[in-house]
C-alpha cells in the first residue's frame, strides 16, 4: 500500500523508475537558494505583525526533549509547560505538541490528557535509524500503542546516499503503515544529505511514500535546520500539492532558538508555500529553548520593557 496519487503512482514501481523521477526534479542552485533565504531574512516584522507571529510560533512548537537523561519527572514538567507556557498569562496559547522518546510516551500521554496538545514520539531507532527494519517498526508500533499520535521517523540516510531509493521508499511506506492513524513526520536529516538537490529528492521521496510531514533534522547532527534547507522543503511541499493535490507539512528542527529566527521561518513559509501552511497542522518548530524566548518577546511586546529569564519557567 502506498499513499501516492494516481498521477505519480508509477514512479516508485522500480528503483530505476524512482531514480529517474527523483533525478528529473529541477536542480537547486546553492548560491541562489541561500541568497533568497537570506533576503527573506531581512524582512522586518514589527508591532501587530510580530505579536501575531509570536502567538502562531508558540502554537507551532513541538516542545522537545530527547536526552538520555530524560525521566518521567522531566517529562511531566515539560508537559505542564506545553499546556500552559506562560502561567502568568492565560491568553498565551498552548504549544502544538510535546516530542519525546518512545519509552516516555506513557508518561507524556498521561500528563497531556485532555489538553489538545499532540504527543509526538521519535521512533525507528532515532536518531541514526541504524537498526533492522523490524526493530524500527516495532519501535513505531509501541509508541503509537502507548499514546503517541505523531511519529517522527528518520530515513535511512545510508541507503539514500548510496542511491537505494526504493529501499528508503519502502521503509517509509512500512513505517507509515505501522503508524496507523498517527501522523508521520519523516526526518530527512538534511545535515547528512550534503546537497540541496538531495534535500529536494528526499523531500519528494518522503512525500511519495506517504509522509504527512517532512522534517529537517534530528537535532543530533550539525547543521540542523537552516532557512535555506527549509526553503527547499517548502518549495517541495508547494510543488507536491500543485501536482497531486495532497498537502504535506514541514518541520524545521534543531538550532532555532530565538524569536527572531522563528519569525524568519514564518516569513519563509508565508512567501514560499503561502498562507495555507501558516497553521500548526502544516508547520511546526522542533525546539526546546525557543519557547522561552518566544514568551519573553511576547511579554516584551505587551509591557514595552525587556524581560529577564527569571520570570519564565524552566522546563
Amino acid at each position: 500500500m502506498t499513499a501516492t496519487v494516481p498521477a505519480l503512482a508509477d514512479v516508485a514501481r522500480t528503483d530505476a523508475a524512482l531514480r529517474t523521477f527523483l533525478h528529473g526534479l529541477p536542480g537547486v542552485d546553492q548560491v541562489g537558494v541561500e541568497a533568497r533565504a537570506a533576503m527573506l531574512g531581512t524582512r522586518s516584522i514589527k508591532t501587530t505583525a510580530k505579536a501575531w507571529a509570536i502567538d502562531l510560533a508558540i502554537r507551532m512548537v513541538d516542545l522537545t526533549t530527547l536526552e538520555g537523561a530524560d525521566t518521567p519527572g522531566k517529562i511531566r514538567a515539560l508537559c505542564a509547560k506545553a499546556r500552559r507556557p506562560d502561567p502568568a498569562d492565560p491568553s498565551c496559547p498552548a504549544v502544538a505538541a510535546v516530542c519525546v522518546y518512545p519509552a516516555l510516551v506513557p508518561t507524556a500521554a498521561e500528563a497531556l490528557r485532555g489538553s489538545g496538545v499532540h504527543l509526538a514520539s521519535v521512533a525507528t531507532s532515532f536518531p541514526s535509524g541504524q537498526a533492522p527494519l523490524d526493530v524500527r517498526l516495532a519501535d513505531t508500533r509501541a509508541a503509537v500503542e502507548a499514546g503517541a499520535d505523531e511519529i517522527d521517523m528518520v530515513i535511512n540516510r545510508g541507503a539514500f546516499l548510496s542511491g537505494r531509493y526504493l529501499e528508503v521508499f519502502e521503509e517509509i511506506v512500512a513505517v507509515k503503515e505501522a503508524c496507523g492513524d498517527a501522523h508521520l513526520k519523516v526526518i530527512l536529516e538534511t545535515g547528512e544529505l550534503a546537497t540541496y538537490d538531495n534535500v529536494r529528492r528526499a523531500s519528494w521521496l518522503a512525500m511519495l511514500a506517504g509522509g504527512d510531514f517532512i522534517k529537517t533534522s534530528t537535532g543530533k547532527v550539525a547543521p540542523a535546520a537552516t532557512p535555506a534547507v527549509t526553503l527547499v522543503m517548502l518549495e517541495a511541499v508547494r510543488d507536491f500539492r500543485a501536482q497531486t493535490g495532497r498537502q504535506v507539512g514541514v518541520k524545521p528542527a534543531g538550532g532555532i532558538r530565538t524569536t527572531k529566527d522563528a519569525i524568519k521561518y514564518l516569513v519563509l513559509v508565508n512567501e514560499t508555500a503561502g498562507d495555507d501552511w501558516l497553521h500548526p497542522d502544516w508547520f511546526r518548530f522542533g525546539a526546546s529553548t525557543l519557547l522561552n524566548d518566544l514568551l519573553m518577546q511576547r511579554t516584551k511586546l505587551a509591557t514595552g520593557r525587556y524581560e529577564g529569564p527569571d520570570y519564565f519557567t524552566v522546563d
Binding site: D29, Q30, V31, G32, E34, A194, T195
Partner: protein, 288 residues
C-alpha cells in the same frame, strides 16, 4: 631589360570574400609611382563594393572569431611565410609606390613580415594579458575575457603602403575581428598584392576585404554602415573628413580610433588590439 618578351601585367582588383572582383561600378583609376609614372589601373570601388565587403566580413565573423586562438596564430604566421616568399615583388612595389630606395624598401618588407609574426604570437596570449579572473565578494566564478568587436572598418595609412597597412590590419584580425580595409588611395598596389598573399595563407575568405579607391567616397558609407562595429580612421589625413566620419560612426556607436601620428617602424603597443576587443564578464555561482 630584354625586350623579346612582353611582360604579362597584373590586373589590380578588389578583394572581397576571398575572391578578386572588379568594382561593381566598372570604374578604375590610374595609379602612378612616386615619380609620377603610370603603374596600373586600380579598381575604383563604390558604395556598393563597400556594402558587399561588409556583408562578406559579417559572414566571416562567426567562423573566424570561433576559430581557436592557436589556429588564428598559425594563419597569421602563415601570412608572414607567404609574404617572405614574395619579398622581392613587394620590395619592388613598395619602392615604386613610396619612392624609397631598394634597401629601404627591403627593410620595409622585412618589417612587415616581422610584424605579422609579432601579432601572430599575440593570438593566444591576448586573453591571458587582457583577461583575468575577478575576485568578487561572493561565491561566484567570475572571469573577464576579451572578445572581438565584430566587423571593423579600417582606413589604411595613405603613405605607408605595406608596413602601415599590415600594422593596422594584423591587430584587428588577430583578436578574431573581420575587416573591410580601404587601401591607401594613392599607393594601393602593395595592398592588392598583399591580398594575394592573404588568399593563399589559409585565411578564410571574408576575414579581410580590401577596397581600392577614394577614402572620401567610400569612407562615409563605411563609417555610417549599421552593420560595422568599429572603425579605425588612422589613414584619414583630412581633419574635417575624420570628424565627419566619426560623426557618421556615432549612428550605431561604433568604436572609433582617431587618426594620430604613427611611427610604423617602432614596436607596436597593445592599444591597436585592445581597441577592437570587448571584455566580456561571465558570472556563475559556485555551489555544490
Amino acid at each position: 631589360m630584354p625586350t623579346d618578351r612582353l611582360a604579362v601585367r597584373k590586373t589590380y582588383k578588389l578583394f572581397i570574400g576571398g575572391a578578386f572582383p572588379r568594382s561593381e561600378s566598372g570604374r578604375s583609376y590610374e595609379i602612378v609611382s612616386a615619380g609620377g609614372e603610370f603603374l596600373a589601373n586600380a579598381a575604383l570601388a563604390s558604395r556598393k563594393d563597400v556594402r558587399d565587403a561588409v556583408r562578406s566580413a559579417r559572414g566571416a565573423v562567426a567562423a573566424w572569431s570561433g576559430a581557436t586562438a592557436y589556429n588564428r596564430g598559425q594563419i597569421l604566421y602563415r601570412i608572414a611565410e607567404m609574404l617572405e616568399g614574395r619579398r622581392a615583388q613587394f620590395a619592388a612595389e613598395v619602392r615604386e609606390s613610396e619612392g624609397v630606395g631598394k634597401g629601404a624598401a627591403e627593410a620595409i618588407v622585412d618589417a612587415a613580415v616581422d610584424r605579422w609574426v609579432w601579432y601572430a604570437g599575440w593570438s593566444d596570449k591576448l586573453a591571458q594579458v587582457y583577461g583575468n579572473a575577478n575576485p568578487v565578494a561572493g561565491p561566484f566564478f567570475n572571469l573577464t575575457v576579451p572578445e572581438p568587436t565584430g566587423v571593423v572598418g579600417v582606413v589604411a595609412p595613405a603613405d605607408s603602403s605595406l608596413l602601415g597597412l599590415v600594422s593596422v590590419v594584423a591587430p584587428v584580425i588577430v583578436g578574431g575581428n573581420t575587416c573591410v580595409v580601404l587601401a591607401s588611395p594613392t599607393r594601393p598596389l602593395p595592398a592588392v598584392t598583399l591580398t594575394e598573399v592573404l588568399a593563399t595563407s589559409d585565411l578564410p575568405g571574408g576575414v579581410v576585404n580590401l577596397l581600392t579607391g577614394q577614402t572620401a567616397e567610400m569612407g562615409p558609407w563605411l563609417a555610417g554602415h549599421m552593420d560595422v562595429n568599429a572603425i579605425d580612421l588612422t589613414g584619414v589625413d583630412d581633419h574635417a573628413l575624420a570628424r565627419d566620419l566619426e560623426v557618421a560612426a556615432a549612428a550605431n556607436l561604433k568604436r572609433v580610433r582617431r587618426p594620430a601620428a604613427e611611427d610604423w617602424a617602432a614596436e607596436p603597443a597593445l592599444d591597436r588590439m585592445l581597441g577592437f576587443l570587448e571584455p566580456k564578464t561571465v558570472w556563475h555561482p559556485k555551489g555544490v
